[in-house]
Symmetry: C2
Subunit: 473 residues, 2 copies
């Protein structure tokens, strides 16, 4: 569910339910609330205590293994020995900043930039996707002289003050700031008939006009190239491009937020913007970049950096350290060596096709979307046809009880987000499909129900007291 819903659910967190079958958790939950505050959300009605992880598995103190279908940060697999070794080795040798010369950070920059189209030849290193998007906002403002931004309707771009203003998904009540315009995702009909690009471009054009009318100069379009928090909308590939061209024609920059879609996630290419045939001016990187080592980056043209540096300095203490470079290089190594982009495409296509099959039998699965290993299942009430966040939450909990970790997405909280480490195999997909089918059978026990009726004997938990946050991680 969106953050809006997490927050609403906060007050109704029920520790008794949380510790059901996990009595040891009670004390930990109390200590956590006393220090990190209850506002620091936990996943799942019965939160999971994780003590170790490897590959696609997260493991609790009793040794129970959970299949991780959620965490894109561990992009090459939890605790991948090549990445752990590279980071540990460099930590013991040197961990300092970019104001000393070090060849590793330059080698990493070269290797990373070689994956981008010509022109996008410079990188500024940061520590997080939020810092990357924040830096992109500063670059866009400096380069264009504008302040107006266009984002999608339920965008999430990070946690800093400037990017939170561009993240409707973060707010309980989104009060669109004067310099921000939101555009809707093309509707299903348009997406299926190939008119999505025109519809999206028309919405962006209207926003450009509206900003101009109000005397707000355009800075740019900031867009997550898989539209994760909006509900995962990768198709049709290319539909973002006409709008992007309009923005550039109007003097704005296009910022491709690759924090979610980047590093091979979509299976089609290393970067989501390439799928869409975009020519972004700025690309932002984060989450998977160091397989969990905190690092991010902003890739752009030299003249854009120079516009900012003519006004102000930009320095990031931890960004681009030799340790971050070692982590980043190791991630690129593994993506290559283990053929993960290709594997992602194939395993993702298999998983998607199987879920599409399943959705034919269960009309509540109203749409299965995705590219590579970033998939979404949208849920509607099988009788009323209304978006069904309650069912979505129920399914997420039912999957968790079966050892499958997923989360929610979308403005209405009615999309299950599937985004495992890219070492996820077809055999892992089978395990998930089995659990998904079992959960569906539990929820819809009778054949007739599978054609429209909700089950009454199912364990529908009272209320939606649990966080399935859509924003991050």
């Amino acid at each position: 569910m969106s953050d809006r819903l997490d927050i609403l659910s906060l007050n109704r967190f029920d520790p008794e339910d949380a510790t059901r079958g996990q009595p040891g958790l009670g004390e930990l939950l109390k200590r956590r609330e006393a220090t990190l505050n209850a506002a620091t959300m936990l996943f799942y009605r019965r939160p999971i205590q994780v003590v170790r992880a490897e590959g696609v598995w997260m493991i609790d103190p009793t040794g129970r293994r959970y299949l991780d279908l959620y965490n894109n940060v561990a992009v090459v697999g939890h605790c991948h020995p090549h990445v752990v070794g590279a980071v540990a080795g460099q930590l013991a040798l040197l961990n300092t900043n970019t104001r000393y010369l070090h060849d590793l950070v330059i080698t990493y920059a070269e290797r990373l930039l070689a994956t981008f189209p010509q022109g996008l030849s410079n990188v500024l290193f940061t520590c997080t996707g939020s810092e990357s998007n924040d830096c992109a906002v500063r670059l866009a403002r400096a380069f264009t002289g504008g302040t107006g931004f266009i984002v999608t309707g339920n965008a999430y771009h990070g946690n800093t003050a400037a990017v939170a203003e561009l993240s409707p998904a973060s707010f309980r009540n989104w009060g669109s700031p004067p310099h921000v315009r939101t555009v809707p995702i093309p509707d299903r009909g348009m997406r299926n008939t190939g008119e999505a690009g025109d519809q999206f471009a028309a919405a962006v054009a209207a926003s450009i006009d509206d900003l101009r009318r109000r005397g707000i100069r355009l800075a740019g379009l900031l867009v997550d190239t898989i539209l994760s928090s909006d509900g995962i909308f990768p198709e049709p590939a290319g539909f973002l491009a006409p709008a992007a061209r309009l923005v550039q024609q109007a003097g704005g920059v296009v910022i491709a937020d690759e924090v979610q879609a980047g590093f091979g996630r979509t299976g089609d290419a290393l970067w989501g913007f390439l799928r869409h045939d975009l020519a972004p001016d700025i690309v932002t990187l984060g989450k998977p970049m160091g397989n969990g080592y905190p690092m991010g980056g902003v890739v752009t043209r030299p003249e854009i950096i120079e516009c900012l540096s003519a006004q102000a300095g930009y320095f990031n203490t931890f960004g681009g350290s030799p340790v971050a470079a070692a982590a980043g290089l190791a991630v690129l190594d593994v993506l290559d060596r283990e053929n993960l982009v290709e594997k992602t495409r194939d395993v993702g296509a298999f998983l998607k096709s199987q879920m599409v099959e399943l959705s034919r039998r269960y009309p509540a699965m109203s749409e299965v979307r995705g590219a590579g290993l970033f998939l979404g299942i949208e849920w509607h009430h099988p009788k009323t046809g209304a978006p069904d966040p309650e069912l979505t939450g129920w399914m997420i909990e039912a999957l968790r009880e079966r050892g499958m970790l997923t989360g929610a997405a979308g403005a209405l909280g009615n999309v299950i987000k599937i985004r495992p480490p890219l070492c996820f195999s077809a055999a892992d997909a089978d395990l998930f499909l089995e659990a998904l089918e079992a959960a569906l059978e539990e929820r819809f026990p009778n054949r007739s129900e599978r054609n429209g009726a909700t089950g009454s004997a199912t364990q529908v938990l009272p209320g939606t007291t649990v966080a399935h946050p859509a924003d991050s991680p």
Copy 2:
């Protein structure tokens, strides 16, 4: 020098000079400029390539050792084996986010919070000091309903859009945003007569009044408790307190930025605000927190967090990971085990007293300031009495040539900043003092010159082409 000066110096970077005596660097510098952009500054006219570091030493590819008097990030010493071991061990086990339960992050939060006054009982984990200050800005806005901030005249609080607006030191031409007021540091006379607190409070009171007059509601005072980028002004301890009380009486919050002064740096206490007897509402942490592992934190009262979370979610993907917790715990372990706060007080006092002695012989050293191992030497032209950034830059380069790494601070770039890892010993101080005296003798070769004349035979390098950035790291 301040960032203002780095930027000015950018265009005049001279690669020939940079590679003098270090021919291998030319290729590396070219590759660096092509990828990281020339805007990513390097320290020193002849940049240093560092390949490893241990304790207080940084080591170049030829094996030459440099005494690090600059890097507060490696607070317990570069590559401290206890921290490296803790991080490497946890990396191999689990690296995930706070939406899963993990005892290490709670244990760390408890241990960290136990060092704060009662009431400051919650912590939000971030990845950098910039993220911490940015989060503090969001908290202050949500809690007070205000937007107006007061900062010191050459403050540096980080690199995000929101905190850059509160960082005059970052800008080439600081155009004070409408919601920001800057206050000057009390002058030397006031600092010596004990009226600094009144003078500082009067400036803050005037800012509060001015914001009120313009209809801008006060959010708070954001202050680095050692005033690093302003030029390092720790004395007299307590001088920040009256102003802070005024801010709180006027409905604003006091944010103590401990990114520089925290973790024992001042030798008097773990936190700089304790030296000043402040009762901050929010405390921000960064740089030294993980001895180089990217982590930060915001310590505050629960009701302040709850004001933000009533409006919007706050989630930080990498913040508070088990690896960050392991790093943070290991740093606290070493600070304790090696008695580093006490040692910092003693070694710092020794170094300061010796530099004060030296300043009696060299009037160009117009003031020696500091607390613990955060010391500043201010330089004025010995004849004209004017602030002397040229001499300051010359001394920094002369020290670097003698294997001593320092940097600059202050709005005028005329303060040498000394801020070594806290394992810095009295013997290390002796090495530095010897080099400092030798550099002074080189610059002022005749006894008479030591009493006022600048040397003419000294190697004054043409122009100020080199960065000695005051902001960070």
